[in-house]
Symmetry: C2
Subunit: 365 residues, 2 copies
């Protein structure tokens, strides 16, 4: 327990909550992206993310990076996180600048600071196991100064994710295997994804990383020197706490993900093998799969009425919905927009959002 | 023209608008039954019914039988029909009592009066041809004192309709064949319906009849003497114009259709063969078939967005609807209820209404 405590005294959570995904339209909107939806349970995915790590990392050592459109909603959602640690990016610049800025902030508080970078819109059904993984990852990152990625056991040949090719087994920590990473690979075509999964030598990359803040800054200086300089200037001008500096300097940073910017380039990365019941809840189809179903395999509010209907997902907080003789549909009803979608075409929901943007129908976005 | 004028001087329309069908839920409600829907064109089916016959029978010789729930809406819908000729049945008693009462009313105005009894919730796509049929029917009924039914050419082995077995050809009037009726038959099973249609000797019974009022009263006296007596008492007490008499005596009349009560019993019935583009628009599936479609065979409001979707019918006067990858659906969106139904199960929409009645959800009925 001593080691554990020592590590976590230095641990800071950096939660990325700036996403504005379109795949849960019409429930998700610009002002209500996926991380702010109550799709599973009574709490938003963002609140669940915080709750999951709170026992290890308290709110006063938690940073949330979000965007200006939802900043106030995020603040209300996580009231225990200090206001100045909820950073609204003045422009969307992907994950590398946000994590780089977080590293500078944390360094200024604790030169030994350890960053746990987490997305805010994923589900993890085994939170205790997840915390064990974080602990193992933190130890590795803290003691050896390595970069650590959480390696998710793949369960299907998903083509929408990045994969991690694992190398030799470095060690075992609390029963969890830690591997050297041979390579990060981009979203593969299906045949390749199938080979990856079959081989047993690949993980999914869920975007969960652990580094010392100093390690991240050092790596940025080496592999993204321009960004490192930009972040340095921003830090000198007041960093994330200065709205003015943020507004002026943040948009100048390169728009690039941490995977492209660093993870694919740096040599020493460890992966902790994690079996934590992870899902990125990437579409209504996934939401259906993760939801409890009735005997006709429907996910539906009790107030509605289904007749001769199977395997549908119905979301209707207010209106009465009757479904008659329909199968494999996603029906989502909101105040001003309705989606009726084949469960097998849930990935095309983004097309609706594109069309709404084309028509400039802001009230529906 | 002289004969025509002479006949139509005595013609009275009796339009039955008391129905409260459930098959167009959620658009149709207790206070907005099918005859009051604007499903085809800008006018309600009731208004279209009146418009169709107005050139032959003016509003001052038109009676409308409806129910108390929609009486005021009906009045607004057909303002040119005199108020006292819009009769609200105090209880639903099917068609025989309403038509019998109409006969007494008309007789009191014109002993030679001719009744043209018409439903108010059907579509007729060839109105000029329909008027020719009415003219031929009126002549036959007027000159020979016969009962006349409009015999609709069947286009499919429909099991939901009554059929008319035709007998010998009586004559030809304005190019229209008039047959003796051998028998009225009830809704047949499919095999029988197929034989009927194949034989060429059957018509559909669309509930459109023509008689002299005196003929109808005489037939009622013979075949439904109790009802005739009841109607006589009601007529003496003030008839349809006395709300009090109506309330007291109308509910005592037998609840029976004119087909059962008379048409199947009286010997001398003629049928005018009619090819008038008739449809009773019996379900959302029929409504889809009758509506103009886009190139993907969808019937949809232009404000919505369909992607990879075919052969759907979407009714949404207000809300934005996006359909993605769906086929053969009926989607009907109203203020407080939404229906998503397979086009091939449109006949089950009544099940929803039954369920709403069971749950006593009056705001949805």
């Amino acid at each position: 327990m001593r080691r554990r405590n020592r590590v976590f005294e230095h641990a800071y959570a950096v939660i990325l909550a700036g996403g504005s995904g379109t795949r849960f339209w019409p429930l998700s909107r610009r002002k209500q992206p996926k991380q702010l939806l109550r799709l599973f349970g009574e709490k938003t995915l963002l609140a669940q993310t915080l709750e999951r790590i709170e026992r290890l990392i308290p709110p006063e050592r938690t940073y949330i990076f979000t965007n200006q459109a939802i900043q106030n909603i995020v603040r209300r959602e996580v009231p225990r996180v200090p206001r100045q640690q909820i950073v609204a990016e003045p422009a969307s610049r992907n994950t590398a600048p946000a994590l780089g800025l977080a590293a500078f902030e944390i360094l200024s508080r604790d030169p030994e600071g350890l960053m746990v970078a987490l997305p805010s819109d994923h589900l993890i059904s085994k939170p205790a196991q997840f915390r064990r993984v974080l602990l193992a990852g933190c130890r590795a990152a803290f003691q050896e100064g390595h970069s650590v990625v959480i390696g998710l056991k793949p369960t299907r040949p998903e083509t929408g994710y990045g994969y991690i090719h694992r190398g030799e087994l470095i060690g075992c920590e609390d029963g969890l295997e830690i591997f050297a990473v041979r390579q990060f690979t981009e979203k593969p075509p299906l045949a390749k994804a199938k080979r990856y999964v079959r081989s047993g030598n690949y993980f999914w990359n869920g975007g969960m990383f652990i580094w010392k803040a100093a390690t991240l800054v050092k790596n940025l200086q080496r592999y993204q020197p321009e960004m490192a300089r930009g972040l340095g200037r921003l830090a000198e001008a007041g960093g994330a706490r200065s709205e003015k500096a943020l507004k002026r300097l943040y948009p100048q940073l390169e728009n690039i993900s941490i995977d492209y910017a660093l993870m694919e380039k740096i040599p020493e990365v460890y992966a902790v093998a994690a079996d934590i019941g992870w899902s990125d809840v990437g579409s209504w189809a996934t939401a259906y799969e993760l939801s409890p179903k009735d005997r006709d395999e429907n996910v539906a509010p009790p107030a509605g009425f289904l007749f001769g209907s199977r395997r549908n997902m119905i979301v209707s907080p207010k209106r009465f919905i009757a479904a008659v003789g329909v199968e494999d549909l996603v029906i989502v009803d909101t105040e001003n927009a309705l989606l009726v979608c084949s469960r097998h075409h849930a990935q095309d929901v983004g097309k609706v959002v594109q069309e709404l943007e084309r028509r400039n129908l802001k009230s529906l976005l």
